[in-house]
């Protein structure tokens, strides 16, 4: 839990190797190979070097106390502060997850894989994966793409706080309120369709179908992606863009060559978080969609298994499959990150 790894002593000669470790995606482990020996010579309490060095062991260092040895591995009193979080995660995530995982292999009837076999042989069930992806992927992409230009515009505004507040209000409303509002506004007898009728245009069906759910996902998801993108955009040193402009880069070129590459990592994270959120869509799919048809998402299947058929084992199976699909997509996005620059987005030593 504690991520307080001490970076290796920085010098131009080992800068290359340090970056190479980072680029290869391995965790930042400063104590590898010769660097470890390097530290060993500097730290008073580090274990003694191999006997081969020097030969005559006139100063046999005694074993340092346990406290010190633990501290060298970044375990000290402060580490205890991580305990509440660990307990919390274990009780509310790890345990239920493992419980559900085991439960999914204990079907009401048949062998241990019966539930999974049932899921993947019944189109009524396995089609929910496609239906959910068909909602979640476009909604996520639209939200993230939309957030970039808005964030780019908002970051230098004087009254950023006011605008940000307005944009963030939908988060506080909750999905159900948004759904109610959309039903009233966009429904067959809603203002929108009545206004259309006034100018002689036929009623448009915007709720109780795919469009309704999509609109609701964008409304409730956008503030979240926007806030994340805004924080990433404002994290980019403005002098980089100024430097690019003095070098002749027009706004478009500055965006493509400077902003976007530095934003890529943040957008990937944003995609992941936003996707996970929209993939578990439930209330708006029921309220604004057609829960038996086009917007029969995977969480509806899990709900029906659990609370309509009282088959908790099957519900767990659906939940496991749901989690697995999310994991695949998140993994795809995260591995695409490797294509882009990852590192500080500052302009130099500040």
């Amino acid at each position: 839990m504690t991520d307080r790894a001490i970076p290796p002593p920085y010098s131009p000669s080992d800068a290359g190797s340090a970056v190479a470790h980072g680029a290869a995606g391995s965790p930042p482990s400063p104590l590898v190979g010769d660097e470890r020996e390097e530290r060993g010579r500097r730290t008073a309490y580090e274990c003694p070097p191999p006997h081969s060095r020097g030969g005559g062991a006139e100063t046999a260092p005694e074993r340092p106390p346990l406290r010190v040895r633990l501290a060298l591995r970044d375990l000290d009193g402060v580490t205890l502060l991580a305990l509440p979080a660990i307990v919390f995660v274990a009780a509310l995530f790890v345990y239920p997850f493992l419980y559900g995982f085991v439960l999914s292999f204990e079907p009401k009837a048949g062998d241990w894989l019966a539930n999974y076999r049932k899921f993947f042989s019944d189109p009524f069930l396995y089609d929910t994966i496609g239906a959910t992806l068909w909602l979640a992927v476009p909604a996520t992409v639209i939200n993230v793409l939309l957030s970039v230009p808005v964030a780019m515009r908002v970051r230098y505004l004087q009254r950023r706080r006011v605008l940000t507040t307005i944009l963030v209000v939908p988060i506080t409303l909750g999905t159900v309120l948004i759904a109610e509002g959309l039903l009233n506004y966009l429904g067959p007898q809603g203002w929108f369709n009545r206004s259309l009728a006034l100018v002689g245009l036929g009623p448009v069906r915007l709720v109780h179908n795919y469009t309704g759910v999509m609109l609701s996902l964008i409304m409730s998801g956008f503030p979240f992606t926007f806030l994340l993108t805004l924080s990433y955009v404002t994290g980019i040193d403005p002098s980089l863009e100024q430097a690019a402009s003095t070098l002749g880069a027009k706004p478009r070129a500055r965006f493509w060559h400077i902003i976007l590459p530095l934003l890529a990592q943040g957008l990937a994270i944003n995609l992941c978080l936003s996707f996970v959120q929209t993939f578990s869509v439930f209330p708006s799919a029921v309220l604004l969609g057609s829960p038996a048809g086009a917007t029969r998402v995977i969480s509806i299947a899990a709900y029906q298994a659990a609370y309509e058929q009282y088959d908790y084992s099957m519900a767990s199976t659906v939940a496991m499959i749901m989690g697995f699909v999310q994991l695949i997509v998140v993994n795809l996005i995260l591995s695409a990150r490797a294509l882009f620059y990852r590192g500080a987005v500052g302009g130099g030593k500040g």
């Binding site: 100024q242 430097a243 402009s245």
Partner: protein, 354 residues
């Protein structure tokens, strides 16, 4: 050498002003800069020198006044249309691009052919002596190396004007001296005009052909380093140029010299500007206030710091005022010392420091 500044005769700043809300950061700066000239904008922080630089680069629009490059008015052009090279205080290197791509960025924005870009980038790398570092990312370089990349990136587009915003303030003392010489060498090599913002008078004195001293958004004095060092036009400029002793005193003329009262003793000084009998300010450098037997000014030593060649001391005069002076021999705390100053090195100003 192929990298050379685009030709121009003169850059003219005509009443350049900029205000932020009700604050006037820049109040009518007028200045002519010739090609090949090295200008230092010198002043304390908040004096408007960085604002002036950003206005020149086009990063800030003017509230009033105009900027001309020969017969072209440029103050309404966007930064990307001006083609000036700028070196930022924090270097502003693109962290995701290799050194070579950083330097070649401006050239590729001009739509040049790749072979041409490569050739010029390599040349710029050799000018800043980073020939073998081209493939690294900026984060892998030291501060001094990053600074060189920033300079190479600014000069490779052959700008008529290179703007530098306190480029050495993030470097350690030794590297600063080294890069100072380097910056002047590169300036002479490419022949552009350079405008260099700094708050370090030593840096300005050693680098510039002309120094522009600014205070509160106003140009206080423009002159060669020698002029500014020997004869600051105003008391506040003197203060900034190392005249550490500023003594408020009544003054009365006698012929070509002015008599002032310093530390309880009468001292002769040279008037700068119109000095009438009455209140004045005398400015004396510590190194012009010498400890010696024949001095008329008696002080008691309060502290002394050894600076290698001599001791920089602080003494308290009979009237209680503090005076900074230099001594070639060791003086001890509490010791009585007599000080003398050459009348030509005691500058007397009518006005006070604002």
């Amino acid at each position: 050498m192929a990298i050379a500044a685009r030709d121009f005769r003169e850059l003219r700043l005509n009443g350049m002003s900029r205000s932020f809300g009700s604050v006037n950061a820049l109040k009518g700066v007028t200045l002519n800069v010739r090609r090949g000239e090295f200008i230092a904008l010198l002043g304390p922080s908040g004096c408007g020198k960085s604002t002036a630089l950003n206005c020149l680069a086009g990063l800030l629009t003017l509230s009033n006044g105009s900027i001309w490059l020969d017969s072209t008015r440029i103050d309404r052009l966007k930064p990307e249309q001006r083609g000036f090279g700028m070196v930022f205080q924090n270097y502003a290197l693109f962290p995701h691009m290799s050194v070579k791509r950083n330097i070649g960025f401006g050239l590729s924005m001009q739509g040049r052919a790749k072979a041409d870009i490569d050739k010029r980038v390599n040349e710029a790398l050799s000018i800043v002596r980073l020939g073998d570092q081209g493939e690294k990312l900026p984060g892998q370089l030291s501060g001094g190396q990053q600074q060189r990349v920033a300079i190479a990136r600014a000069i490779v587009i052959e700008p008529p004007l290179v703007l530098m915003d306190e480029p050495l303030s993030n470097l350690d003392a030794k590297l600063r001296l080294e890069m100072r010489a380097e910056i002047r060498r590169i300036h002479d090599l490419i022949g552009s005009a350079t405008i260099y913002v700094t708050h370090d008078q030593e840096e300005a004195l050693s680098l510039a052909d002309r120094i522009v001293v600014m205070r509160d958004g106003v140009v206080r004095q423009v002159g060669t380093p020698e002029e500014l060092y020997a004869r600051p036009a105003h008391a506040d400029v003197a203060e900034f140029m190392g005249y550490r002793n500023l003594i408020r005193s009544p003054a009365w003329k006698s012929g070509n010299v002015v008599n002032v009262r310093v530390g309880g003793a009468e001292v002769q000084g040279t008037p700068v500007g119109a000095v009438v009998d009455g209140n004045a300010v005398a400015a004396i450098r510590p190194d012009d206030l010498k400890a010696g037997a024949g001095g008329s000014l008696a002080v008691t030593v309060e502290s002394a710091q050894y600076h290698g060649r001599d001791f920089c001391c602080c003494g308290r005069a009979g009237d209680g005022s503090e005076l900074y002076f230099c001594s070639e021999r060791r003086v001890d705390k509490g010791e009585s010392v007599r000080l003398a100053a050459d009348p030509s090195r005691v500058l007397v100003y009518a006005e006070d420091v604002p």
